[in-house]
């Protein structure tokens, strides 16, 4: 495992160091100008947030039904990353919205559903942290229910309001922008894999230490 980590760190460092240049060289969007560049950080984070939520939900289901402790450790790592990338999304989103819509926050469908997803996983972490012994299962159920909840949140909030640019915008980008976008998406994806691996490893080590403690006590 550690063999992948070092090259990944290097690649991520190079990518993130050159990302500002790539983004700066991408063509300016006609109506928004400079603010549109937030997009290169906002959208990849949002994508990874949803991927991470899915991963956390699936890992939790595996943990609940198969009792696999390793799956639970993946779930913790993924759950924390949902919250982390969610913070990036929820900070960059309003920055853009202030310029594009004139307000920091708008009760738009996609904003609201991202916020709710973020809250579900924040609750997941709260249960893990403060639920006391045996709260892993409870948290697992929360992640599973949270994942099942995504379509409902999406539909209900969509009917409630919609303002956000459609996600299909990614596929119809101008060629110059497309390159920069996928560059940033790759950088974020590598960062994500890196963080997930490291976090999972920390959790693995923690489990080993716990085992050793128990062995010493016996």
């Amino acid at each position: 495992m550690s063999r992948i980590v070092v090259p990944l760190v290097l690649v991520a460092m190079v990518l993130f160091a050159s990302a500002p240049l790539v983004v700066a060289n991408a063509p300016f969007e006609q109506t928004m100008g400079l603010v549109q560049k937030i997009f290169y950080y906002h959208v990849p984070s949002a994508m990874l947030m949803f991927v991470s939520a899915l991963l956390c939900g699936i890992a939790s289901a595996v943990y609940l039904f198969r009792g696999s402790a390793a799956a639970d450790r993946v779930a913790v790592a993924a759950g924390e990353l949902v919250v982390l990338f969610g913070i990036i999304v929820l900070i960059t989103g309003p920055l853009w919205a202030r310029k594009a819509w004139g307000v920091w926050w708008e009760w738009d469908a996609r904003l609201t559903s991202s916020l709710l997803l973020w809250m579900i996983f924040l609750a997941y972490l709260l249960v893990r942290r403060f639920g006391g012994p045996g709260s892993e299962k409870l948290a697992g159920a929360m992640a599973l229910f949270g994942m099942a909840n995504v379509p409902f949140v999406h539909v209900s909030v969509n009917y409630w309001r919609t303002l956000h640019p459609k996600t299909s915008v990614v596929m119809t980008l101008a060629p110059g922008m497309r390159g920069a976008f996928w560059f940033c998406a790759a950088a974020f994806a590598i960062l994500y894999v890196l963080l997930l691996t490291l976090r999972k490893r920390l959790e693995d080590k923690r489990a080993v230490v716990e085992q050793l403690y128990l062995a010493v006590e016996d």
Binding site: L116, G131, G134, L138, L144, F145, V155
Partner: protein, 227 residues
């Protein structure tokens, strides 16, 4: 199957019998819900006139708050008397116990709603008799959705620390679709010209939510309640 339903029925009857003897949960929850509506009335009624369109929201917020309280109390009783373990040791299907508990919670919430709805109608001038069958459908489907997730979480939280805080922390983000659907659907029939297709859409969403979450709860109750 008949065995399953019998167990569920027995568990529900046990809960209701215990409740009938003390009436603790019904009285406190109804009183809590009433004071909730009053708090809203003091916040939102200006110069004797209620805010327009506020009634649907107030109704559903009060249901959610009172429901959380009722759920917490129902399982607190089991914890206090150490009877949840006994219930789990009973030689029967775990999902049947869940269904029994859920039915008990539903009866309790129905009683609370029977008080809440006329009260909101009275204090906020809501036309509760405009489309009574749609209102009943919304309340039934919404309550089932809320209670199905709530019963599962409350049952799991019995063993957890700081369970009183964690129940709403877990329950509210998950049941947001129920609240949106309930409020929007109710608002659609409370407006001057009731919008039935809109309400139908929200009821359909709620029914779909119920099916998914009751199934998920039945499916996860067994692994979750195993120590």
């Amino acid at each position: 199957m008949t065995q399953f339903l019998r167990v569920a029925w027995v568990v529900m009857r046990k809960d209701l019998t215990v409740e009938m003897r003390s009436r603790e949960i019904v009285y406190t929850t109804v009183f809590f819900a009433t004071s909730c509506v009053l708090v809203f009335a003091f916040a939102l009624v200006r110069e004797g006139r209620p805010l327009e369109d506020a009634s649907a929201g107030i109704l559903w917020i009060s249901i959610a708050f009172a429901g959380t309280l009722g759920l917490g109390r129902t399982f607190e009783r089991e914890r206090h008397t150490e009877t949840l373990r006994a219930l789990m040791l009973a030689p029967s299907d775990r999902p049947a116990i869940y269904v029994g508990k859920l039915l008990g919670v539903l009866v309790l919430m129905a009683i609370v709603e029977a008080v809440l709805v006329p009260m909101v109608g009275l204090l906020f001038h809501a036309p509760i008799f405009a489309r009574p069958h749609w209102l009943a459908a919304l309340l039934a489907a919404g309550t089932l959705g809320f209670a199905s997730v709530g019963t599962l979480f409350a049952a799991m939280l019995v063993r957890a620390r700081s369970r009183d805080v964690l129940l709403p922390v877990l329950l509210y983000p998950i049941t947001i679709p129920v609240i949106i659907a309930g409020v929007r659907g109710t608002a659609a029939i409370f407006q001057a010209t009731p919008d039935e297709p809109m309400t139908r859409f929200w009821v359909a969403l709620l029914v779909f939510f119920d099916v998914v979450f009751v199934t998920l709860s039945l499916w996860t109750f067994e692994p979750l309640m195993t120590e």
